[in-house]
């Protein structure tokens, strides 16, 4: 049995130590907001936070997450209050099929934790590991800037 701290709750997982964190989250804990896209850390659909850092959960074993704080897309909102990044995503109609967006949002949230006013180059660098096939990139860029504004105290539209 492996004990993981996920979204502030300690969860027991019956899994081999080498099971990728992604499958522990999805198949064992049924936290299916984190997505499988490539399995080789190329697409970012599986992005979660480990101690606040964005990681590709498909490519780290569950044992590496023991003792750390894991945050998934399900843990982002505070009750009914969505995270500013989620709010900006809704406001700017970012999503299309939506499959990659959990990962995109987790990467964007991590960026804004350390950078309150990211430039285009900052956004390029932080989001380069997340693929979207629907072509929501221009709106992702705009929504990150909008979320930064919201975090700084801007009004939600």
């Amino acid at each position: 049995m492996i004990s993981l701290n996920i979204n502030g709750v300690q969860r027991e997982v019956e899994a081999d130590a080498d099971m990728p964190l992604l499958w522990a989250l999805r198949d064992i804990l049924q936290l299916t907001g984190t997505k499988y896209g490539c399995g080789i850390a190329q697409c970012g659909a599986c992005t979660v936070h480990l101690d606040g850092q964005p990681i590709r959960s498909c490519s780290i074993p569950v044992s590496a997450a023991v003792g750390g704080r894991i945050t998934t897309i399900e843990g982002l909102a505070k009750g009914e209050e969505l995270h500013p990044v989620q709010q900006a995503w809704i406001e700017l109609d970012v999503v299309q099929c939506g499959y990659c967006q959990s990962g995109q949002i987790m990467s964007a949230v991590a960026l804004l934790e350390t950078n309150t006013n990211p430039s285009d180059a900052d956004i390029d660098a932080a989001m380069n590991g997340n693929i979207c096939r629907c072509g929501t990139y221009p709106r992702i860029r705009a929504a990150i800037k909008r979320a930064a504004e919201l975090k700084r105290g801007g009004k939600s539209a």
Partner: protein, 725 residues
């Protein structure tokens, strides 16, 4: 939950969350979809509901649920289709709940005896019907109110889910449910529809209804479905197209912890396990003897060489206007060029998957599909049961692009066969490599074009010979679409009927039969023909020494809608005016799926790498039901096409697909994504599609800009392969 009831105090966003979240979440948790109701005569209608037909349900608590039979793959049908119905029902579309329909003939495509989402046709084929059923329901509620108040119905009006009379009295729709149920339903073909100039919602931008569940991770895609006792399977698939199984040893695989069962199915060897990780481990441990067979000699490079020779020979005539031979004899200047496009994978972000449960009662499937009726039919055939015993639950699609409208229902049938005899639900997951190497690509295409201009520099003839595997002929639509000579309209769409005025035009086709499975890929033939024809028009403009935009204006002067779109794109892009140093413009226009789209790409080329800085797009889709999603679909189509144009290619060597994942099948990332401006041209023309028409013009617009920048003409995609360093 009418706007009247709580709209004044409630946060609209939360309503969306509650609205669609409850319904989709219910499905996610494994609750059965509500029993289906069709037609007014249904006696099982719950008394608390007014459900005049399959498309809307009004509850006494004012909850209004719109039931959508089209699949949501990002294109926004769960927003646009409810808007259309809500407009005539006269309720705020942002307050309705959206329910994902079961499979029912009520949701069949009007041109096909099937429930199907594709061809950019969801709005254009349901617009009139959804207006009529919305108006029918409103009319029934008005009649109920008139009876209750004992007044003439013509004195009543509606607004946001409330009936009002001339004295200021009001009745909520929910309070009229019982009364409406007792009255005969009005004839939907005879109801009065709104004058479009009075539309409150259609034509005005509306936010997506599914954003709240998609930004919180709670939207349920096929791959997210969980069923009690469910197992997960992956399949060891043949390593090459046409390979067959000689035998396998599962001893080691069975010993892997968590592996439950291993069985051969037609598509390979299924490893059924407690979870994905165990299934993958089990698959790795299989020892398999494959017979590669004749496909060992199959390669895309080999096909290319064969097809180059084939393109020099006469083919099936797809179009013959005027006399190209005579025109070439009298031409001033000619070109004789070859254009090539690679196989392309759809590469949906959600790899293919399906959950199936097979019991004595039949088969239940949960999956993201564009093709419910056919999936049910093929699954029934494979299991040897009646199609009525197959029940399909449509989930959110993590991308479709045509791949989830499989002509053979591959991922549905396979899941049913894996689950057969297991006694538990089984989720079959395709890994990214399975998905990418599993075939069903945009066809490889080889084209030879001879073209000529006259003394005035304008085109006198185009002779286009195209070689590729025909798309529709390899689907159920082949029977009705392909001519008895074998001409497949999808091969010549956009070339035989190009809008540019070409006095002598001959299009010929060679149909190929290689073992590589092909399928419709976003915009089908148009992403191929759009590249070839728009590049050739540019070549002719160069030959004539004319500006490519002015040249096109001349060729479209008899087509006012096309001309308006072309001019709008060029004007908004400041065509002909100074650009930043090293930046150049290219332009292209394609009509597809009933819509006309022109794009101007602003490109620079440095050290053999093309960078697209900005795309200016103009679109005439007749009516933009939800303009913000028209813009979103243009952006989407452009970036999907740009990704393919810059780097997309599937190569076959020794019968095997070279590319397997996003490290080798390179796709566009945010850093290379241009700014995009979309302008909607309002023509009042018939409703066109929006999911696909944004894709075809981008590759030629970019390549034409590369020519402007470098003088190098890209005649083979992807650009990364052709562009000189």
């Amino acid at each position: 939950m009418s706007a009247e009831g709580n709209g004044a105090t409630d946060n609209g966003r939360r309503q969306f969350l509650i609205g669609i979240g409850v319904v989709a979440g219910g499905t996610a948790a494994g609750m059965a979809l509500r029993p289906w109701l069709v037609g007014a005569a249904d006696v099982n209608r719950p008394p608390a509901d007014f459900q005049p037909h399959a498309f809307v349900r009004i509850r006494s608590d004012d909850t209004i649920t719109v039931i959508i039979g089209k699949s949501e793959m990002g294109q926004g049908v769960y927003g646009s289709l409810p808007m259309i119905l809500a407009e005539e029902l006269d309720v705020d579309p942002t307050t309705v709940q959206v329910e994902i329909a079961g499979v029912d003939p009520a949701f069949n495509h009007p041109f096909l005896p099937a429930q199907f989402t594709g061809g950019s046709m969801s709005v254009m084929t349901t617009y009139d019907a959804l207006r009529r059923v919305g108006a029918q329901a409103r009319s029934a509620l008005l009649a109920a109110a008139a009876e209750q108040w004992n007044v003439d119905v013509v004195t009543l009006t509606t607004d946001s889910g409330v009936v009002r009379d001339s004295r200021g009295r009001r009745l909520r729709y929910g309070s009229l449910v019982d009364a409406a149920n007792r009255l005969p339903l009005p004839d939907p073909t005879a109801v009065t529809l709104k004058d479009p100039s009075t539309f409150k919602y259609i034509g005005k931008p509306q936010r997506r209804l599914d954003s709240p569940i998609k930004v919180t991770g709670s939207a349920t895609f096929g791959i997210d479905v969980m069923r009690p006792g469910m197992l997960t399977a992956v399949i060891a698939r043949p390593p090459a197209f046409g390979a067959s199984l000689r035998g396998f040893d599962a001893t080691a695989a069975k010993a892997v912890a968590g592996v439950v069962d291993i069985k051969a199915v037609p598509s390979g060897i299924a490893v059924i396990a407690q979870h994905t990780h165990a299934a993958l481990r089990g698959r790795d441990a299989l020892v398999i003897d494959w017979d590669i067979g004749s496909s060992k000699s199959l390669s895309s490079e080999g096909l290319r060489q064969e097809w180059r020779a084939l393109a020099k020979r006469p083919g099936l005539v797809g179009k013959n206007v005027g006399d190209v031979a005579a025109a070439f004899r009298s031409a001033t200047r000619t070109i004789d060029v070859e254009y090539e496009l690679p196989y392309l994978a759809h590469a949906c972000m959600e790899p293919l998957n399906a959950v199936a449960e097979v019991t004595a009662d039949g088969c239940e499937l949960w999956l993201g599909t564009q093709s419910q009726s056919q999936d049910a039919r093929f699954v029934a055939e494979a299991l040897g049961i009646e199609p009525s015993k197959v029940r399909i639950h449509t989930m959110f699609l993590g991308g479709g692009f045509g791949r989830r409208a499989s002509a053979v229902s591959d991922f549905a049938v396979e899941a049913a066969l894996v689950a057969q005899g297991v006694g538990k639900p089984v989720k079959v997951v395709w890994t990214r490599e399975d998905d990418m190497r599993g075939g069903y690509y945009r066809p490889l295409s080889f084209n030879r074009i001879k073209a000529a201009v006259g003394a005035d520099g304008m085109p006198v003839a185009i002779h286009h010979v195209t070689v590729s595997k025909p798309v529709l002929a390899n689907t159920a639509m082949g029977k009705m679409a392909v001519t008895k000579e074998g001409l497949d309209p999808s091969t010549i769409e956009g070339s035989a009927d190009m809008p540019y005025a070409i006095p002598n035009l001959r299009v010929e086709v060679h149909n190929t039969r290689e073992a590589v499975p092909i399928l419709w890929w976003r915009s089908v033939g148009h992403s191929i023909t759009g590249f070839v024809t728009n590049s050739v028009i540019d070549e002719l403009a160069t030959l004539a020494g004319k500006d490519p935009y002015e040249y096109r204006r001349e060729l479209l002067k008899e087509k006012p809608r096309h001309l308006a779109v072309l001019e709008r794109a060029a004007t908004e892009a400041n065509w002909g005016q100074a650009l930043p140093a090293g930046h150049f413009h290219g332009i292209a226009l394609q009509e597809s799926f009933g819509s006309i789209v022109a794009q101007v790409a602003e490109v620079s080329v440095t050290n053999g790498k093309a960078r697209v800085h900005r795309v200016t797009c103009a679109v005439d889709c007749g009516l933009a039901v939800n303009p913000s999603q028209v813009v979103a679909q243009m952006e989407s189509g452009i970036l999907y096409g740009l990704s393919a144009a810059l780097e997309g290619e599937i190569n076959i060597e020794d019968g095997r697909v070279v590319e397997g994942n996003f490290d080798s099948y390179r796709v566009l990332r945010l850093v290379d994504s241009p700014a995009i401006d979309v302008h909607i041209v309002t023509s009042g023309g018939p409703i066109g599609g929006i999911g696909e028409p944004g894709t075809p013009p981008i590759a030629p617009a970019v390549c034409n800009a590369i020519f402007a920048a470098t003088g190098e003409r890209i005649r083979r995609l992807p650009i990364s392969k052709s562009l000189n360093a």
